[in-house]
């Protein structure tokens, strides 16, 4: 083995070994254990079964999964509704203002969403700022319950995940060729028609990417319902966490995680199929 080969071997081997040991093998373990039987002593035992998956479909659990999916879906739609006009305005802002505005979106993207969730707790407490302001303005006579409601959970989820929607939308909108919009208008399209037939289709890859980036993490953020929703709300994250740490049911928790992974796989397939078709369309 010459020196170049040796260097290549080390560089490749170290990385491959790391990913194999800490991503591939644990990932396969989750899948494997989801087909095993629960065992209180060793966490799981050999007889291979589909019990865990059948149990997930049991009305009791299916309801939890369904509720979690609805939370994530609503969060995604809320984020989309807020972000779409926002990203559009940002992408059309003047060249020298854009970097600053973009930076302001990126900062919350990288800072602790736990701290941001905690900031919301402070705002929404019974004796918190919002209630103080509301009663000072004479709008309410008694403090409104904000914390530990569904409303608070949605605010928390949207708050944590909003930048994940804005950034991909901004990315596609910034690249959009404005001459296409002008052409549509010249050909007699009104604003609504331009939006429906030109802007919306062109921004679709961004919409799709943003939705995936919000929908998937939304299901895992167990601390948001914990801190803002009381113990009433359950996301997939809370469910999986409980199966592992409280119920000690590894196979069942694994099955729920596999469900998440399958969902992720499906969404990625949809994304790639669509963006490939989109690119071909663009090339024509």
């Amino acid at each position: 083995m010459n020196e170049r080969q040796g260097f290549k071997f080390i560089a490749v081997f170290l990385n491959m070994a790391w990913f194999a040991s800490f991503v591939l093998i644990p990932g396969l373990m989750v899948v494997g254990i989801s087909f095993m039987t629960r065992d209180t002593g060793t966490f799981f035992s050999p007889p291979l079964t589909l019990t865990q998956y059948r149990e997930l479909l049991d009305p009791v659990y299916a309801k939890v999964l369904g509720a979690s999916l609805i939370y994530s879906l609503n969060t995604t739609l809320l984020c989309l509704f807020i972000s779409y006009p926002f990203a559009w305005i940002l992408s059309r802002a003047s060249k020298h203002r854009r970097p600053l505005l973009l930076m302001m979106v990126i900062i919350p993207f990288w800072t602790s969403s736990l701290i941001r969730t905690y900031a919301l707790v402070i705002l929404m407490k019974a004796n918190g700022i919002i209630n103080t302001l509301l009663s000072a303005a004479g709008i309410v006579s008694e403090p409104v319950t904000l914390l530990y409601t569904d409303f608070a959970v949605y605010v928390g989820l949207v708050y944590s995940l909003l930048p994940f929607m804005i950034l991909p939308l901004y990315a596609v909108m910034e690249k959009m060729d404005l001459r296409l919009l002008e052409a549509a208008r010249d050909l007699g399209a009104n604003t609504l028609q331009v939006f429906v037939h030109v802007v919306l289709p062109l921004s679709f890859p961004g919409v799709l990417a943003g939705c995936i980036m919000v929908f998937l993490p939304a299901m895992g953020l167990f601390y948001v319902p914990d801190l803002l929703g009381g113990a009433k709300t359950m996301l997939m994250g809370n469910f999986i966490k409980n199966q592992f740490l409280t119920a000690m049911n590894w196979p069942f928790g694994s099955a729920a995680s596999v469900f998440l992974l399958v969902l992720m796989g499906l969404m990625l397939i949809i994304y790639f199929t669509f963006s490939r078709r989109f690119n071909r369309h663009q090339a024509l």
């Binding site: 990385n15 800490f22 940002l90 505005l101 707790v121 402070i122 705002l123 918190g128 895992g220 966490k241």
Partner: protein, 256 residues
């Protein structure tokens, strides 16, 4: 859209994103115990913070994990990015697949999969397990950033160096590393931030013997808020802000 509507939409979103944080920071300087009304400016809660060894320990533990894991991830990821951009090898596609799947997969799945691995391997959850987990979720970011930078420059430079007699590790340390340095630094800073802020994955792979700040804050907030947490969160937020800004400046450098 009218100009007025545009301005109010943008301001509303930014108020939503920054308002709560601003309130948190302002009230960390409030004399009063409750975040209801403003009494007077005081550094009381920052002083309390300095008198709280548990919190300080958690803070230093977090810093230690973030520093070491970001350095390991940067070193490993830079080498990895160099390898995938310069060599063809079996499993290259699989490697890229794994890199992207780590970035995409829900944190909770990575958390529980590592938890199971560590339990079955007989590792006591604590510093080491946290370190491994943090390196794992930072690694893809370093690889993607550095890879983008390497693909951006002229491969002829490397060939020239080799023709002039540079050996492979010399090509790496004397040509490649200086050229990709901004990307490497950006990758390091982002890893540091990711590690410092992570809650979900750390939650599963840490043990009672080794407490880190985000989890400490989580349990404190669950038990009932004390104003020291405001001070602590302010410090943590400013720290991340500094790291992110620096990384952002460096990433801009990459695109140039």
């Amino acid at each position: 859209m009218t100009r007025w509507l545009k301005i109010s939409w943008v301001s509303a979103v930014f108020t939503f994103l920054y308002g709560p944080l601003l309130v948190l920071m302002v009230f960390s300087f409030n004399q009063a115990r409750y975040t209801t009304s403003w009494q007077e400016f005081s550094l009381k809660w920052y002083m309390r913070l300095l008198d709280n060894p548990q919190l300080l320990d958690a803070f230093f533990n977090s810093l230690t994990v973030a520093l070491i894991s970001s350095m390991v991830a940067t070193a490993l990821g830079t080498l990895g990015a160099f390898a995938v951009s310069r060599y063809r090898f079996a499993g290259r596609k699989l490697f890229f697949g794994l890199v992207y799947s780590v970035m995409m997969s829900p944190d909770i799945v990575m958390g529980i999969s590592l938890l199971m691995l560590f339990v079955l391997a007989g590792l006591t959850p604590g510093f080491l397990t946290l370190l491994i987990a943090h390196v794992t979720f930072c690694l893809p970011f370093v690889i993607v950033l550095v890879h983008a930078r390497i693909s951006g420059f002229d491969p002829a430079v490397v060939d020239a160096a080799r023709d002039l007699g540079a050996r492979e590790h010399e090509v790496f340390y004397k040509i490649i590393v200086p050229m990709i340095l901004p990307a490497v630094l950006a990758g390091w800073l982002l890893s540091f931030t990711l590690s410092l802020d992570d809650v979900i994955i750390s939650f599963f792979v840490t043990g009672p013997g080794f407490e880190i700040l985000p989890l400490k804050i989580y349990s404190m907030v669950k038990l009932g808020v004390t104003p020291e947490v405001n001070a602590l969160c302010t410090v943590l937020f400013l720290l991340t802000l500094a790291a992110v800004s620096a990384a952002h400046v460096l990433t801009k450098e990459i695109k140039r």
